[in-house]
Symmetry: C2
Subunit: 178 residues, 2 copies
């Protein structure tokens, strides 16, 4: 990541995420993103020569951000906390954010399902690592899947769980994880 004079790139990525969330994943057009980012279409295409590149950047940014947060949570987390517990805690916090954060994934899938492959392989890596670090396979499976369910509900904007229920769920998962 080299230093850049302009921050157009970040502005554009943020704008893309906003547009996808607000006007629906199907309406993620280059024009919409450009005007939202306060950039002309030409400028947008200068930064991301094709729509696919934009999507790709969205995915990569998302993944690397999560990875960094995960690494930080592992090292700076509560002492004596298992890696699985750290994963649960981080994911829960992430799902607690008001913005659904990743609606753009739907746009990417609609554009081309292959955009999922990097995400899938990333997930697989995380899971395999957790599997090596967690003695209790049953606990891992239940917790990992439940977190995946939480992620899914957040992604789809489902709100069938109350805040209390979410808290209870997380604390239960943390119990199971230890």
């Amino acid at each position: 990541m080299k230093a850049r004079r302009t921050n157009s790139r970040e502005k554009i990525l943020a704008a893309a995420a906003d547009v996808a969330r607000e006007t629906g994943p199907g309406s993620l057009s280059l024009d919409a993103v450009a005007s939202r980012a306060g950039v002309s279409k030409g400028g947008l295409l200068y930064n991301f020569p094709t729509k696919a590149k934009l999507m790709q950047a969205l995915v990569e940014d998302y993944l690397s951000a999560f990875q960094q947060a995960l690494e930080a949570a592992r090292t700076n987390g509560v002492s004596g906390e298992s890696p699985l517990a750290a994963y649960i805690r981080l994911s829960a916090e992430h799902a607690e954010e008001s913005k659904p954060s990743a609606t753009w994934i739907f746009s990417a899938i609609a554009e081309d399902p292959d955009f999922l492959t990097p995400i899938k392989s990333f997930r697989r890596q995380v899971f395999e690592r957790l599997k090596q670090e967690t003695p209790n396979l049953k606990a891992l499976l239940v917790c990992y899947l439940a977190i995946e369910g939480l992620r899914s509900m957040n992604l789809f904007g489902s709100d069938i769980l109350s805040a209390d229920e979410r808290r209870l769920l997380i604390s239960t998962l943390l119990e199971i994880a230890e």
Copy 2:
């Protein structure tokens, strides 16, 4: 559901699901569905006067099929089985099917996110009902979310769980549910 001379309607719905799964959710065009269903575009629009109606039908069919299966599992299920256990078992079987079954949901979301509302309210109903029938709230939360996670992984075509792991997960959930 009145008796129909023709089965074009079902053929078209199946074709739409197939197209979404095979050529990607973004390529679900009326032309593609028509040719896949072995029907002219005129014929397609005769059955579903607009693309939105097609999506709506897809959603409604999907939901009513699940509801029927759920009702059947409740009454004809293993005797002494709790409603939560029945729900787990049914969802697990459903997720076991080779075809991802519901990729078309992505098309629907891309078309108009509002197509999610009937699905969301259906899920909410199911959850509320389970909540009344299940004494152990913790168990319900963990199991329901884990199933949701399974559903999500199936939807996204993720295969990070081996068949053995899936089986272990389900049996663990069933233990928790009782």
